[in-house]
């Protein structure tokens, strides 16, 4: 497969996450540490769920494909649940660390707020889950082969990349909303996040019927983006301010240039 496929899929899948990392995380050491620790927690959840799946798989009949597929689906849902459990565990850890940081710092407040930690944790989860889904596929795009030679879909790479992007963004938004729900003790929020995650994974089970999986997943992504925006303190007023400021700024620039 061509370099175009490789670069295209790499940028689709990792472009936003990478730029978010560069612009918001890379400069602050504390955020980098929180990001890597978030990735570590996601890995732990994956490890445990793989262990469970592996045991179940070995205990069952390896020849029976229906059972194996069923076990895989079970593995998917179990992994999602475990991810959310570990997200909660990470939330608790970060809360404790935050209190510690606040106690030790100069101004009696922690250098990082819970909302920022929520975003960074979500990004950590997103990056590592995207990487684990996509990196092997990307390395395959550099090698020889014909896509779909056995009758599978031609669009395997691009849909994988798009799905990875969606999952990464969703993990960020779920992180923000989840932590916010925990902070305000709104347990229904957590339940909704878990259900949405299960729904998204469930939709991915429809692959290779991409019409059934990708558009709904992106719709959910947009909805989650809006929810996360409002959960982290945004409002329509802020948005309007942003636009008017921008317009004002642009107008000033034009006046300045004209002078």
């Amino acid at each position: 497969m061509t370099a175009a496929v490789f670069f295209g899929c790499a940028f689709i899948a990792f472009g936003p996450a990478f730029s978010l990392f560069i612009f918001t995380i890379a400069r602050d050491p504390l955020r980098v540490i929180i990001l890597i620790a978030g990735a570590f927690f996601w890995l732990l959840s994956l490890l445990l769920s793989s262990l469970v799946w592996f045991i179940a798989m070995k205990a069952s009949n390896a020849e029976d494909t229906k059972v194996q597929t069923g076990l895989l689906i079970f593995g998917v849902f179990f992994s999602v649940l475990l991810q959310e459990v570990f997200r909660f565990a990470y939330y608790r850890l970060l809360r404790k660390a935050n209190e510690g940081l606040a106690a030790i710092s100069d101004e009696e407040t922690s250098p990082i707020s819970v909302q920022q930690m929520a975003y960074v944790a979500g990004l950590g989860f997103g990056i590592i889950s995207g990487a684990f889904s996509m990196i092997n596929i990307l390395s395959d795009t550099l090698g020889p082969g014909t896509v779909g030679i056995f009758g599978d879909s031609q669009y395997y790479f691009i849909t994988s990349a798009l799905m990875t992007l969606a999952i990464t963004l969703l993990q960020i938004f779920w992180g923000v909303v989840f932590f916010d729900g925990c902070e305000k003790s709104r347990w229904w929020v957590i339940a909704v996040v878990v259900c949405l995650h299960l729904l998204v994974s469930g939709l991915s089970l429809l692959n290779p019927l991409y019409e059934g999986s990708l558009p709904p997943v992106y719709a959910i992504t947009v909805l989650m983006a809006v929810w996360a925006f409002f959960a982290s303190g945004g409002s329509l007023h802020n948005l309007s301010l942003l636009f008017t400021r921008k317009i004002l700024f642009v107008l000033q620039l034009i006046c300045f240039v004209k002078m």
Binding site: L46, L47, M57, I104, S105, N207
Partner: protein, 450 residues
């Protein structure tokens, strides 16, 4: 291939984290930002014959430093610890990541380092080409025992040399080993890269490249040089060393050796009679920094000179030799007061304690850490070709390093940097390779997403 010299020196290296001084002694240090251009000419990294006054100053200010330790309150120090803790962690994340990236990139592209053609190091004489699993396991354990005993013997030898002040010997040994690394191994590496990419090259050009690379490297590492260039060279030689290990250590032996060396590191640094601990304590008694030449140092500390000419010759002799240790010691230090003297040492300025409390102290990690971390990740990349395993080991090692630094901030004394990271790395390697890989492969085949 018999890489005895470099192997010896590899075997010299210990893994230990050392605390240089007690944390409440910031007084006579002033650390400038290494990026700051104007500090360039004043930078003096290593002892050599014309830094006598510098070392005199080092000797000279040790005492007043200790005197001033009293009034510095603990709480303030703790705050500084946490404030700069995250920054120090990142200062180590970056070079460790770079080293691992270099090793993984080489492993994935240059096939030379993954080809096994039966050659082994003399330190691992037992072959793994046996018929039964039990025999193979036994051979790898035997190989490990031999390797670890060689390392132990070398360490003890080194400690003895250091104790009896045979600095010239150590100096010569280290220069020889870094010569080998910088010239021979990099020549081999360059040759293999050219072969992989089928680049036509002539000997005069190669000679010039290697000569320049090696000569600048020797100068940077053993004498003076810009901090970032020196850091880059240390990363490169760690990567080269790790590649040699990856190529020449047999499969199972490598994993067992990694485990065993973490245990050894733990023992050597924490036990009262451990060789590394003795090394650290001896160096602290003499108020000398431990092996500054071949420990990766993230920053440089400056000290305004308090030149004490009477101690000039004594200190010069001492420090000139200790700095060129090519140590595989995993030494993680909270660099409290590495005395570097500014060029204008004629000034006998006294120093106020308050100024230094704001300054960053930097952190050091031994090259052995870099090497073994890279060996772990490189082997994860070499076997199986699965990127998930490599990524998982990478994250595990970084988290281990983070935890180790946290412990260092809490305990404020010499700590081994290998055990936690290598344990996490090994656990993640084996579990990702055997459990997560089939799971993720199945998911990818069906395009299920979790």
């Amino acid at each position: 291939m018999n890489t005895s010299d470099s192997e010896e020196d590899a075997c010299n290296e210990r893994t230990a984290l050392v605390q240089s001084e007690s944390p409440s002694l910031p007084s006579y240090t002033r650390q400038t930002d290494p990026q700051h251009g104007t500090t360039e000419p004043k930078r003096r990294r290593h002892a050599n014959s014309d830094t006598e006054a510098g070392h005199a100053a080092r000797g000279g200010v040790a005492a007043p430093r200790e005197r001033d330790s009293g009034p510095v309150p603990d709480g303030e120090d703790e705050e500084l610890t946490v404030k700069y803790g995250a920054k120090h962690v990142i200062m180590l994340f970056v070079p460790v990541t770079l080293c691992m990236v270099v090793v993984v990139a080489t492993i994935k592209s240059v096939s030379f380092y993954t080809e096994k053609n039966g050659q082994q190091l003399i330190y691992t004489p037992f072959t793994e080409d046996t018929n039964s699993v039990g025999q193979r396991l036994l051979n790898s354990v035997l190989n490990t025992i031999i390797m670890i005993s060689v390392i132990v013997v070398m360490t003890i030898f080194l400690v003895v040399l250091y104790k009896y002040r045979c600095y010239k010997f150590i100096h010569g040994w280290l220069i020889l080993s870094s010569l080998m690394l910088l010239f021979w191994f990099s020549y081999m590496y360059l040759g293999e890269v050219f072969k992989t990419y089928n680049v036509a090259m002539d000997y005069p050009t190669v000679a010039m490249i290697i000569w320049n690379f090696g000569a600048v490297g020797m100068i940077c590492i053993h004498w003076k040089g810009p901090l970032q260039l020196q850091q880059a060279y240390l990363i490169v030689i760690s990567a080269l060393m790790a590649l040699v290990f990856i190529k020449y250590l047999p499969e199972w032996s490598a994993w067992v050796i990694l485990g065993a060396i973490s245990v050894y590191d733990l023992i050597a640094v924490l036990c009262p009679k451990g060789p590394l601990r003795m090394l650290v304590e001896t160096a602290q008694e003499r108020n000398e920094p431990i092996f500054p030449a071949l420990i990766y140092s993230s920053t440089m500390i400056w000290m305004v000179g308090m030149a004490n000419p009477s101690q000039a010759s004594d200190s010069a002799d001492r420090s000139a030799d200790e700095e060129v240790r090519h140590s595989e010691d995993v030494i993680l230090e909270r660099e409290e007061a590495e005395p570097e003297v500014q060029m204008h040492r004629g000034q006998n300025r006294s120093y106020s304690a308050e100024e230094e409390l704001e300054e960053d102290r930097g952190v050091k990690l031994g090259l052995g850490d870099f090497i073994f971390y890279s060996v772990l990740v490189g082997k994860a990349a070499a076997t199986g070709g699965d990127w998930n395993t490599t990524l998982a080991c990478f994250v595990a090692i970084l988290i281990g390093l983070c935890l180790t630094l946290l412990l260092l901030a809490i305990f404020k004394k010499a700590l081994p940097a290998l055990p936690i990271s290598i344990t996490f790395g090994l656990v993640f390697y084996f579990s990702t390779d055997n459990l997560v890989r089939p799971f993720m492969d199945n998911l990818a085949a069906h395009q299920y997403y979790i």
